[in-house]
Structure formats: structure tokens, C-alpha cells
């Protein structure tokens, strides 16, 4: 991976291809040209983030920003969030939870587990596109620590 040219990679864990495409489109519209690595299920995403041995050493030296959907076919995003925040190699990577669920308990739980941002996908597309573009602007300015 070319860390020097594009230091920050956006890991997008989103099972709905349509959503993934819309999110990517709108992030690009915000002028963010960082690499976006999409995963359509939790298993593949975990394999990428923690390596085949599950230790998390695979993420050493990466600068990652994780976009996480909670409703995944093979596991819930909460499980992934918990793993990310309890692994010494990945716990400093910002996690943005982007999901349809706006249940107060779910939101609370995600922040308790260490989520950095929680965004509910608005059904209204204007709001949705707007939210993603603002998120993209946020990505453009935010400083991401390198994982150890």
C-alpha cells in the first residue's frame, strides 16, 4: 500500500452495494480522493483489518478511517466496533458508524464501545447526500494517527 501518496485509507464496511456506491459518490463530490476500500460483509473486513491470524498486526503502520454499517449479513457492526476498539493496533483508528438505526439505546451502546461518530442515514436523499458530503469534508481535515 502506498502510504506516502495517500496516507489515509477509508475502510467502508457496507453490505448494501447501492449505499456503498452512493456514499462513495458523495465522498468524492466533497473532493476527498483518498483510497476507499469497500467490504460487503464483516468476515472479509475483519480479515483485512486484523489479518488472517486475527492479531491486528496486519494494520500496523496503516492510517485507517473506518466507515461502519451496523446491519451486516454475517455479523453486527457492533461486534466489529468492539473488536476494533479493544485491539491495541486498531483502537486509535476513528470509527464512523453510518447506519439506518436511530434507536437511542443502539447509539448509546456504540459510543460506549468507543465509536467516534454516529450518523443515521437519512432516507431523504438530499439530506443523505448532504450528510455524506459533510462527512467527506470532515475526512479531508481530520488528522488520523498511524496505527502501531
Amino acid at each position: 500500500m502506498n502510504h506516502d501518496a495517500k496516507p489515509v485509507s477509508i475502510v467502508m464496511i457496507e453490505d448494501d452495494e447501492g449505499h456503498a456506491r452512493l456514499i462513495e459518490k458523495n465522498i468524492r463530490r466533497a473532493g476527498v480522493d483518498n483510497e476507499i476500500i469497500p467490504f460487503a460483509n464483516g468476515t472479509e473486513a475483519l480479515a483485512y483489518l486484523f489479518g488472517t491470524d486475527g492479531s491486528g498486526k496486519a494494520s500496523c503502520g496503516r492510517q485507517l478511517l473506518i466507515l461502519l454499517d451496523l446491519n451486516l449479513p454475517d455479523m453486527t457492526g457492533v461486534d466489529i466496533l468492539e473488536k476494533l476498539k479493544s485491539n491495541p493496533h486498531t483502537r486509535r483508528s476513528p470509527v464512523v458508524v453510518l447506519t439506518t438505526t436511530d434507536d437511542a439505546r443502539e447509539i448509546q451502546r456504540c459510543y460506549d464501545l468507543g465509536a467516534n461518530v454516529y450518523i443515521t442515514k437519512p432516507v431523504n436523499y438530499e439530506s443523505f447526500a448532504n450528510a455524506i458530503r459533510q462527512l467527506g469534508l470532515f475526512f479531508a481535515v481530520v488528522k488520523i494517527p498511524e496505527t502501531e
Binding site: 452512493l22 439506518t100 438505526t101 442515514k121 431523504n124 436523499y125 438530499e126 447526500a129
Partner: protein, 496 residues
């Protein structure tokens, strides 16, 4: 042996009656025996008197003889005194004996003879004494020596002995009979006491048997009751679980429906954006004299595509509304209830006050009567329920008729409270009366804004509170909704 209630009453009464009969028999026997004893006692007394009188009479006769002999021996008048006393007493004593023996037919003969003998003896004594008084002492002794007096006295003694024997026999016979009597009495008392004990014992035994049966039956009922309560608890838990499952299902379904909807809306927007570019290109080209293919593309871009996109948009907006409504319902079902003490009157008044403006517009009033005690429930839920019902009442008033809404809250037994919301509005047709509680279903002319979720929502909330809602309505006349609530939400185990 099971004892039926009738058999129990019958046998108890029978035993008591038998016991009573035994008691009566004892009392009767006692009376009879006491009467007998009295008779015997009288007989004995009588016989003793008879005997005593005879002995006295004999004594008197002997005294007379003794006095005569003493006088004749000594010639001293002093010795004559016993004779004189006896002579004076004898008739009376004889009369007394006659009286005492008057009732005895078989004694009359000996008594008559005794009387004659005694009369003879007395006249013999008198003759000798008279002779002696006249100085004819030897003649008097000669009379004595004839032995006539002694023979008379011997005969009299025999008769005395005979009669005294009769009296003594009677005494001893009667005493013997009395002893027998007493022993009868003892036996009868003993037998009756045994009978009473037996009947009482039987009665007590039946009572014990019956009581034991009652206790066993009661224990069975208690056990059944406990089982029933346990079953009710299980069923309630099952229902609560099923309810929770349905709500979770609704929640998941609505969430999962939302995801594709986001795509539909998103890509429709993308489509629209693309269409704008196409439209700009077509507008830039000259419409005159273009090929049929190009004309069709122009029509598609300028009319057909915008129309199709418009329908997709409006449908997705509508669908979003429906999904939101379901989501709201399922969220209400999942909301944690906060039981607190609530006075209904201020709550209802504030719900009515929120509709004051609309009520004035409808030219009507909302009257509130509360006779129900305060209840423990969720304030937010109650506010929502009554707000919605009052809103409906005002919204669906019959135009051209002054609106009248009455809210009445009253206790319903000890544990529930009923609140009636009665209006004189346009009413709900009979076939719609159950439908109005269904989601997205509305009744009558669709001339008011609404999505058809209000009453469905009210019913869901009420179920969570352990309450229920029913309605009575006549089309064109008005509707009465009756809300029934538990007085204490905490006692309702179905609450989630």
C-alpha cells in the same frame, strides 16, 4: 367412603335424633322408677306403721294384764295404774290398728278375731278386778286360775305374731323390690349412656369424616388454584414474549425496508441529476427538422422521464411515511414505561386545553367529569391516548351541529378505571368499527388530514399499559370510546 353433603346432614340429624330418643328413654325410665320408689316407700312406711301399731297394741294388752296381776298379788292400788292406763288407751289403739289395716282384705278376719279376743280379755280382767274390789279376792283368783285369760292372751299373741309377720314380710318384700328397681335403674342408665355415647360417637365420626373430606377438597382446590395462577403467569409471560417478538419484528422489518428505500431515493436523485444533463444537451440542439428518433428522445427526456421520476419520488415518500409510522408504533411498544401517580382531571383538562382553539372553531365545548381516584401509570402514554381521542372527537365533528364532547372518568371495580370519551360527531359505520383500530385504515369521508395511525397507536400504547379500548358508535349520531386502565400499572405483568 365419601360422604355427600345430604348424606352428611341426614346421618348427623339421625344420630342426634337417636341420641335424643335415648335421653328421653332415660328420663322416662327415671320418672317411672322414681314413681315406683315413691310407691314402695309409702308401702314400707305403711307396713312399718302397721307393725308398730300392732306392737303398741300388744304392749297395751300386756300392760293391762301386768297391772291386773300386780294388783291381784299385792292388793295395792298402785299396781293397778298400768291396767287403768291400758284400759283407757286400748280402744283408741285398737281403732288406730283397724284404720291402718283398713285397706287389707285378708287381715280383716284376724283383726276381727283379735278385737273379739282383746274385748274378751279386757272384760275378764275387769271382772277379776271388780271382784277384788268387792272384797271377793278368792273368787277373783279363781277366775284367773281358770286359765281363760291366759288362753285369750295366748290366742291374741298368736294373732299379733301372725299380723306382725304379714307386715314384716311386706316390708322385706318391698325393700327387695326397691333394690331390684335400683338395679334396673342402674342398667337402664348404663345402657342409655352407652347408646348416647354410641350415637354421639357416630355423629362425631361422621363430622370428622366430612370435615376431613372438606379439608382434602380444599387442599385440592388450593393446589388447582396455585396451578392455575402458575399457568396464567406462564401464559402472560408467553404473551409478553410474543408481543415483544412482534415489535422487534416490526422494528427489524422497517429498518430493512428503509435500506432499499434509501437506494431508490438516492439513485432516483442521481437519475434526475443525469436527466438534467441530458435535458441541457437536448435544449441546446435545434428541435426543428430533427429525425423521429431524436424527437422521441426529446419527448422521453422532457416529459416521460420526469413524470416517471416524479411518481417514483412521491411513492417512495409515501412509503417512507408508512415505514415511519410502523417504526413509531414499534418504538412505542419498546419504550420503557415510567409508572407514576397521576391525577386524571388535570391531565384531561390540559389535553382539552390543547384543543381549545379547534373546539372553538367547531363551535363546541369539551366537558370533563372525573370521579375516578388517581392512578399509577405512564404519563406520556396517557397524554398521547387522550390527546388523540379528543383530537379525533374535535376533528370528526358533524358540521352544522354544535360540537359536544364529554369525558367521564370513573372507577370500575377496585382495580380498574374507565374513561369514556363521548362525542356527537359524524360517527363510525358498523362495518368500520373494528377497522379503525387497524394501521393505515380510516373511516368515512377522507376529508381530514391523517395517515390512519392514531387509533392503532392508541391501542398499542393501551396494550402496553394493560388497558384496552372499545367503541360504540352510530353513524351520524356520535361515537363513544371507552378506555379501561388498570389502577396500578406495576400490577400488570404484561408490561414490557
Amino acid at each position: 367412603m365419601p360422604v355427600s353433603r345430604i348424606a352428611f346432614v341426614r346421618s348427623t340429624v339421625l344420630f342426634l335424633l337417636l341420641g335424643l330418643a335415648a335421653l328421653l328413654a332415660i328420663v322416662g325410665a327415671m320418672f317411672w322408677l322414681v314413681g315406683q320408689t315413691q310407691t314402695y316407700s309409702d308401702t314400707v312406711t305403711n307396713a312399718r306403721q302397721q307393725r308398730a301399731a300392732l306392737i303398741d297394741l300388744r304392749g297395751v294388752a300386756q300392760d293391762a294384764e301386768t297391772g291386773q296381776r300386780g294388783y291381784l298379788l299385792t292388793g295395792n292400788e298402785d299396781y293397778l295404774k298400768p291396767y287403768l292406763d291400758a284400759e283407757a288407751k286400748l280402744p283408741a289403739q285398737l281403732e288406730r290398728v283397724r284404720q291402718l289395716w283398713a285397706g287389707e282384705a285378708q287381715a280383716q278376719g284376724p283383726l276381727e278375731r283379735l278385737s273379739t279376743i282383746l274385748t274378751g280379755k279386757m272384760s275378764e280382767l275387769r271382772r277379776t278386778i271388780d271382784l277384788d274390789h268387792a272384797g271377793r279376792h278368792d273368787e277373783a283368783i279363781a277366775v284367773v286360775k281358770t286359765g281363760l285369760g291366759r288362753n285369750l292372751m295366748d290366742d291374741a299373741r298368736d294373732l299379733f305374731d301372725q299380723l306382725i309377720g304379714v307386715a314384716e314380710l311386706r316390708v322385706s318384700e318391698t325393700v327387695e323390690r326397691q333394690r331390684l328397681n335400683i338395679s334396673y335403674l342402674r342398667w337402664i342408665t348404663l345402657a342409655s349412656a352407652l347408646a348416647i355415647l354410641l350415637f354421639m360417637g357416630g355423629s362425631v365420626w361422621t363430622v370428622l369424616l366430612y370435615t376431613r373430606q372438606l379439608i382434602r377438597a380444599e387442599a385440592e382446590v388450593t393446589a388447582l388454584n396455585a396451578g392455575l395462577e402458575e399457568r396464567v403467569r406462564e401464559r402472560t409471560a408467553d404473551l409478553a414474549r410474543a408481543n415483544e417478538e412482534i415489535q422487534r419484528f416490526a422494528y427489524i422489518v422497517t429498518h430493512d425496508l428503509r435500506a432499499p428505500l434509501v437506494n431508490i431515493m438516492g439513485f432516483t436523485s442521481e437519475l434526475e441529476t443525469s436527466l438534467t444533463a441530458i435535458k441541457a444537451y437536448i435544449d441546446a440542439t435545434d428541435a426543428a427538422g430533427e429525425e423521429p428518433v431524436a424527437r422521441q428522445a426529446r419527448i422521453a427526456a422532457k416529459e416521460d422521464l420526469p413524470e416517471a421520476i416524479g411518481f417514483i419520488r412521491s411513492s417512495t415518500v409515501k412509503m417512507d411515511g408508512l415505514i415511519n409510522a410502523i417504526l413509531k408504533l414499534s418504538r412505542e411498544g419498546r419504550r420503557t414505561l415510567k409508572p407514576e401517580r397521576i391525577e386524571l382531571e388535570p391531565l384531561l383538562r390540559s389535553a382539552a386545553a390543547n384543543l381549545h382553539h379547534q373546539a372553538m372553531e367547531a363551535g363546541g365545548e369539551i366537558a370533563i367529569e372525573v370521579s375516578a381516584p388517581p392512578l399509577v401509570s405512564d404519563r406520556l402514554a396517557l397524554e398521547h391516548i387522550f390527546g388523540n381521542l379528543l383530537d379525533n372527537a374535535v376533528k370528526y365533528h358533524q358540521p352544522g351541529r354544535p360540537m359536544k364532547v364529554r369525558v367521564r372518568a370513573s372507577g370500575q371495580g377496585g382495580r380498574r378505571i374507565a374513561v369514556e370519551v363521548q362525542d356527537n360527531g359524524r360517527g363510525i359505520a358498523a362495518q368500520d368499527q373494528e377497522r379503525v383500530f387497524d394501521l393505515f385504515r380510516r373511516s368515512g369521508a377522507q376529508d381530514q388530514r391523517g395517515e390512519g395511525i392514531g387509533l392503532a397507536h392508541v391501542r398499542v400504547i393501551l396494550r402496553n399499559l394493560g388497558g384496552e379500548i372499545t367503541l360504540k358508535s352510530e353513524l351520524g349520531q356520535g361515537t363513544t370510546f371507552t378506555v379501561s386502565l388498570p389502577r396500578d400499572l406495576r400490577g400488570f405483568t404484561g408490561a414490557i
